[in-house]
């Protein structure tokens, strides 16, 4: 595309230069000629007019002189001073440049004449003719005047004057000079035009190229044909250089991602919406690029990540070692390392000092580049997955143990019954054990199911009217035997009238079972467990109070965590899934209430289950 445009524009400018130039010269020459002719004609006309006006002025001048002279001659003649006439005539003739100036008898002898006056009479004859008249003859070159002068009574003399009225000689020379000067001027102009035209052609071509480039936005269009003149070559060199720079810049932009630019800034923005951190490291493990998530996970801030040594951000030598090997090109396959020691030296300590240090997974892969090693690292926060994995593993171990105990009891008593089938007392005892153990199994399974429902987000409460008096009767029944077995004093402090509340009966029963079973389990023999119900306005409170082993304050929140079991040696000997309290609190919260724990180590614990009764509860109570 580019080369094609370039070609057409070049041929275009070439055609312009060859096709327009002769016409232009011809027009210029013709124009010069016309102007010169007009100027010459004008000057000639001016000269003619000047000559004519000068001729007229000369005639006037001579006529005036003649009239004046006639008066003077008349005076001299009247005075009889004829001898003074030659001098007068000579003076006037010299002053006014007259060719002839004389006084004579008409058609006869001369009496006085300007100049030497040879042959002049010097006297006035007695007999003089009369009837002479004043005459003027104005020719192209000569003006002649004749004026009669009375000489006493005898007759009239005639004053004859002639003078040249032709243009002076330099007029003719000027008339000849003008065309010569003009001719020389035109020739000089044409020569100058020839000299300038070649340069003007190049400038014209550049101008047209600039016009064209405005429309085409293509560097190639700026090139002009070198036939257009001397400026074309340096111009083309400049344009060529600019074009090369432009292509180089475009090439660089296209081949180097991560630079500021249209596509790459979009790419950077896209990387910033990833929840996984992305790092690009050079061979010396310096950060070349870090997206938002990587910056947050490793440094907690975005600025100043570029060119930071990764070793200052990650303290774990295992991670650094793996990445170093890759950066140096020794390792070429994918490497994945998990580390809980993140952040810079000081920061790592701070983070690991936290209750649960974060675990980051670094997955690294070499990026193939000829020159040197570049490593791309994906950083993921896998803390929650780790915690969940550990918990699940712990749960499986616990659950297996929990399930095994009742199953073993059931199998043993069943075997005992089979072996000793006639012993009625033995059979009754075995059936009791089997019954209670299968209820325990049922509860464990219900717990596990509920937990998995919470896990899947499908645990829902189905509200109905719950008759609390019935529920407490069941609880009393279920735990009396268990408390007696452990020699624990189980006390129910219930108000005389228990309300009917809105809630999920099965879930509430499950939660309260867990709370009471826990209290009995963690209270040593001889202790007391009190279940106190309180019907306050807006909420129903059930306190489960024991004087058992208690929970340390730093563990009081943790006991509600899934699979968490207190780090107390006395607890380790007791079985449990670590699900009971989690489940109880979730159920309380699903009902819009909560469980509050007050406990003191070695003194006992109080779990308070708060159940809102306003709104739904109020209606149930009215019913």
């Amino acid at each position: 595309m580019q080369s094609k445009t370039k070609k057409t524009s070049e041929t275009g400018s070439a055609r312009d230069s060859t096709g327009k130039a002769p016409l232009y010269s011809t027009v210029l020459a013709l124009g010069s000629f016309v102007v010169a002719s007009a100027t010459a004609a004008g000057v000639a006309w001016g000269l003619d007019a000047e000559a004519a006006s000068r001729g007229r002025a000369r005639v006037h001048e001579v006529r005036g002189a003649v009239t004046m002279l006639a008066h003077a001659v008349q005076r001299e003649v009247d005075a009889g001073q004829v001898e003074a006439l030659p001098r007068l005539l000579t003076d006037v003739a010299t002053t006014y440049d007259l060719s002839t100036c004389r006084v004579r008898v008409p058609n006869a002898a001369t009496i006085a004449e300007a100049g030497m006056g040879a042959g002049a009479l010097g006297t006035i004859p007695d007999q003089l003719p009369t009837g002479a008249r004043r005459t003027e003859e104005i020719g192209k070159t000569l003006a002649s005047f004749a004026v009669p002068v009375r000489a006493g009574s005898s007759g009239e003399l005639l004053l004859e004057v002639s003078a040249s009225v032709a243009a002076p000689w330099n007029m003719a020379l000027a008339r000849l000079g003008v065309p010569i000067v003009l001719g020389v001027g035109v020739v000089a102009l044409l020569l100058a035009q020839r000299l300038v035209a070649s340069r003007l052609r190049a400038l014209g071509a550049i101008g047209r190229a600039l016009d064209a480039s405005l429309q085409e936005r293509d560097g190639g269009a700026l090139m002009v044909s070198e036939a257009t003149g001397s400026y074309a070559k340096p111009w083309n060199a400049i344009v060529g250089e600019r074009e090369a720079l432009r292509r180089f810049a475009a090439f660089k932009e296209a081949t180097e991602p991560g630079r500021a630019g249209g596509v790459s800034s979009e790419l950077a923005a896209a990387c910033d919406v990833l929840t996984q951190g992305i790092l690009i490291l050079d061979e010396r493990l310096r950060v070349k690029y870090a997206n938002g998530a990587a910056a947050t996970l490793l440094a907690g801030k975005r600025d100043g990540m570029v060119n930071t040594d990764l070793r200052s951000l990650v303290a774990d030598s295992e991670v650094i070692g793996a990445l170093e090997g890759m950066a140096k090109g020794k390792v070429r396959q994918r490497v994945s390392v998990e580390s809980s020691r993140v952040g810079p030296q000081g920061k790592a300590a701070e983070v690991s000092g936290e209750r649960a240090g974060s675990v980051l997974r670094f997955s690294a892969r070499p990026v193939r580049r000829e020159e040197h090693g570049v490593v791309m690292v994906v950083v993921e926060d896998v803390t929650q997955q780790k915690v969940a994995d550990e918990a699940r593993n712990g749960f499986v171990a616990q659950a297996t143990h929990e399930l095994r105990t009742p199953l073993t009891n059931i199998r043993l008593y069943t075997e005992a019954m089979i072996e000793d089938s006639d012993n009625a007392e033995m059979r009754a005892k075995s059936l009791n054990v089997i019954s209670s153990e299968s209820r325990r199994l049922e509860r464990i399974v219900a717990d596990m199911l509920s937990v998995s429902e919470i896990e899947a987000g499908t645990l829902k409460i189905v509200r109905g009217d719950v008759r609390l008096d019935q529920l407490f009767d069941e609880l009393k029944e279920d735990y009396r035997a268990m408390a007696e077995d452990k020699e624990i004093n189980l006390v129910f402090e219930l108000p005389p009238k228990l309300p009917v509340v809105s809630g999920d009966r099965d879930k509430l029963a499950l939660a309260w079972h867990n709370l009471i079973a826990n209290a009995i389990k963690y209270t040593p023999a001889g202790g007391q467990v009190t279940i106190r119900a309180e019907d306050t306005p807006g909420r129903f409170l059930m306190h489960v109070i024991d004087n058992g082993i208690g929970i340390r304050s730093e563990e009081q929140e943790l006991v509600f965590d899934r699979f968490y079991r207190a780090k107390d040696n006395r607890v380790a000997n007791l079985t449990g899934t670590g699900l009971g309290l989690t489940l109880a609190r979730d159920i309380a919260r699903l009902h819009g209430g909560d469980i509050v724990l007050r406990s003191e180590i070695d003194k006992g614990s109080t779990f308070t289950f708060e159940l809102p009764t306003v709104a739904e509860g109020a209606m149930a109570r009215a019913a």
Partner: protein
């Protein structure tokens, strides 16, 4: 203002109780920022205890979410009550957050 802090595994659930407005918001803001740093952003705000929220309160929530947005995430809110829901809808800020029904599902979203 009472701010409950509960850990679900590696996730911290903050449950401010009371009105999230001018006077009380500073305390909430600092504890949110604190938890945010400590747990690398694994935070859920349980809004079920929020009885009232004003512009300052909203601002704190949006700021926290914008901070997380720099690493491609958003603030997770759960138990958003009718009032807060309406405020978020009216101010068209709801899409700046990830909303969950309860803390459990919000916590699960970190897996």
């Amino acid at each position: 203002m009472d701010i409950g802090e509960q850990r679900f595994g590696a996730v911290t659930v903050l449950r401010p109780v009371g009105s999230l407005s001018l006077e009380e918001v500073t305390q909430f803001k600092s504890s949110l920022a604190d938890v945010m740093v400590k747990s690398l952003g694994r935070v859920v705000v349980d809004a079920s205890g929020i009885s009232y929220v004003d512009s300052r309160g909203l601002e704190v929530l949006v700021e926290a979410s914008d901070g997380l947005a720099r690493s491609g995430r958003a603030l997770r809110l759960c138990g958003v009550n009718e009032l807060l829901r309406e405020v978020l809808d009216l101010t068209e800020l709801a899409e700046r957050f990830e909303l969950y029904e309860d803390a459990n599902s919000a916590v699960r979203s970190f897996l």
